[in-house]
Amino acid sequence: MTPNLEEVTGFLYDEAHMLDSGQFKEWHALFTDDGYYWMPVSPDDTDRTQGAALYNADKAFFEISINRLYASTAHSILPARRACRLVGNIRIAGHEDDATIVRSKLQMHEYRVREIGNDDARVFAGTMHHALVHTTNGLRMRWKRVDIINSEASLTAMPLPL
């Protein structure tokens, strides 16, 4: 049974809210066991084993990044970074085995207050692809790929996944 547009839209909205509200472990659990999260540097990359990336982690290794977001010594998220994600232009782009490939656009505003110096505010924009599969627990991500429009730029730290 393949999910329809309404179902995948609900999933994407819930996912964005989960990330915005800091439920990173719950979000990490939305990946299938063989799942992975990928943000390639080159928008032309089709094979995640062949090129540089902003993020490229299978679910097991990704757990380190996720755990760190809860550590009291994670300097780059102290004080916490707040984010507001807007997801739109959602389309079912195709199918891959039993997964439904969903294409959408993401805008994410990120902000953090600093006691010393200027506050940090920035915006990310790009295209997301989710490979969603039905499981007994509901929809899960087999993979998620995010291509921000400035992926090839030299960016400063991005501790929050998009």
Partner: protein, 429 residues
């Protein structure tokens, strides 16, 4: 500024074991660094394999000046300022490409890859008695030097490339020797990041074994929290691990005359453990013999710093170019190499390691960047405040050929960086 004044000003900034914080935040000092340090040392800009064919070019930045490197018809590599001699428009506008003839996009002045001007439109409007094409070729960006395929540029070298590299040549030897066919190929997509702080901070950080305990405490905690440890790749696990201080004290650091240094000593920290049965060892032994494989993989070296322009991680097949953009802005560009003749799994390891150690999304890098940026914010407001670089002065140092050998937790390599920094800045080199 009279040279005696400069000498005194520089002497006032650097003490044997302390550094005035204005060296990280004063824009005038930064400009002096461009003129006196970066224009006279050799900057690593890339690798031979990025421009194999005639007309292949890539852009680079040396002492803040935009330049490009191009493969000429005689196979040599030339470096030119990326500005048309006519009205100064940039000639190359893509990061890399191929052009048999270099044509300025503004008024179509046309150059050969050796820099000579071969055509200007409306030639009849030029006074042939005054304007000779030969006098208006591309401006050289300085001398080009090549070591084991790595390309260096110096606008006005204080010494030749081999002498400048000194014992740090071994970092490049180590990288290339790890390729079973003795050839490495630069990958087209670079792993970049940026931090809003002074360029020197990365050079003071990457041989600082002790910062693992403070800056990267969260990575070690996060690693311990992973439930299913068996599923973690050993190379990837390395990126998050933080050894105990007494383990770090077993490290050694070696440093060289022109400010270069590396730390070494504990094989596992550098991602060692490549022995018979490992696909990389076996490929190298098959190509060049067991003895050579043993020699190459016995090298327990971690991060090498080529002051003031690059870092080299031979074990992970990666070279990082450090580009000062402004006094408080630095770009870091990692080039990953495929080792010719090595199995694909070797490339996978180094690529994975590069993502987790050199990408903006890295859980290691994020905390280094954070501490650099927070510090820079304070340095900006500093007036006669001092950074201590005293650690390790209670320990003895030894010399070994052209290197000084110190304890791996010592800040001796930072003192060494500032010793050559002062010599360039006050004009004694």
């Amino acid at each position: 500024m009279a040279e005696t004044v400069v000498k005194q000003a520089m002497a006032d900034l650097i003490r044997p074991d302390a550094v005035d914080r204005r060296v990280y935040s004063d824009p005038t000092i930064f400009q002096m660094e461009m003129e006196r340090l970066f224009s006279r040392t050799w900057t690593l800009v890339g690798h031979d394999s990025q421009i194999p064919e005639q007309g292949d070019y890539f852009q680079a930045l040396v002492a803040q000046k935009p330049i490009f490197l191009v493969r000429d018809g005689d196979q040599s590599i030339k470096a030119f300022l990326n500005a048309c001699p006519h009205r100064g428009a940039p000639l190359c506008n893509k990061a890399k490409g191929n052009a048999r003839r270099i044509v300025c996009p503004y008024h179509n002045w046309t150059f050969k890859t050796d820099g000579s001007l071969i055509g200007v439109p409306l030639r009849s409007e030029y006074d042939a008695g005054v304007f000779n094409l030969r006098d208006h070729g591309l401006a050289s960006a300085g001398q080009v030097g090549i070591y084991r395929g790595f390309i260096f540029v110096s606008p006005d070298p204080a010494t030749d490339l081999l002498n400048f590299l000194g014992g740090m040549r071994s970092a490049f030897d180590d990288l290339v020797d790890r390729a079973p066919d003795l050839e490495v190929i630069a990958q087209p997509t670079f792993q970049r990041h940026r931090y809003r702080a002074n360029w020197k901070l990365i050079f003071e950080n990457l041989n600082d074994s002790l910062h693992l305990l403070g800056a990267h405490a969260s990575a070690a905690t996060a690693l311990e929290m992973v439930k299913d440890q068996d599923r973690l790749d050993p190379i990837m696990r390395l990126s998050a691990s933080a050894p105990k201080p007494e383990v770090l004290q077993q490290l050694v650091s070696r440093f060289y005359r022109y400010g270069h240094s590396y730390s070494a000593g504990i094989h596992n920290l550098g991602g060692g453990g490549v022995a018979a049965g490992h696909p990389h060892y076996d490929a190298l032994a098959a190509a060049r013999g067991k003895e050579e494989a043993d020699r190459v993989f016995a090298n327990p070296r971690h991060m090498s710093l080529l002051y003031p322009s690059a870092t080299i991680n031979a074990r992970m097949g990666t070279v990082r170019l450090v580009r000062p953009i402004a006094v408080d802005d630095t770009e870091v560009i990692a080039i990953n190499f495929r080792l010719k003749g090595a199995p694909d799994s070797v490339f996978q390891d180094l690529l994975n390691y590069s993502v987790v150690s050199g990408s903006p999304g890295s859980f290691v890098l994020a905390d280094d960047i954070e501490i650099f940026e927070r510090s820079q914010e304070l340095y900006r407001h500093s007036d006669r405040d001092w950074n201590s670089v005293h650690r390790g002065t209670a320990l003895t140092e030894a010399t070994d050929d052209d290197a000084v050998v110190a304890n791996g937790t010592s800040e001796a390599y930072i003192r060494n960086q500032f010793s050559i920094w002062s010599a360039f800045m006050d004009g004694s080199i």
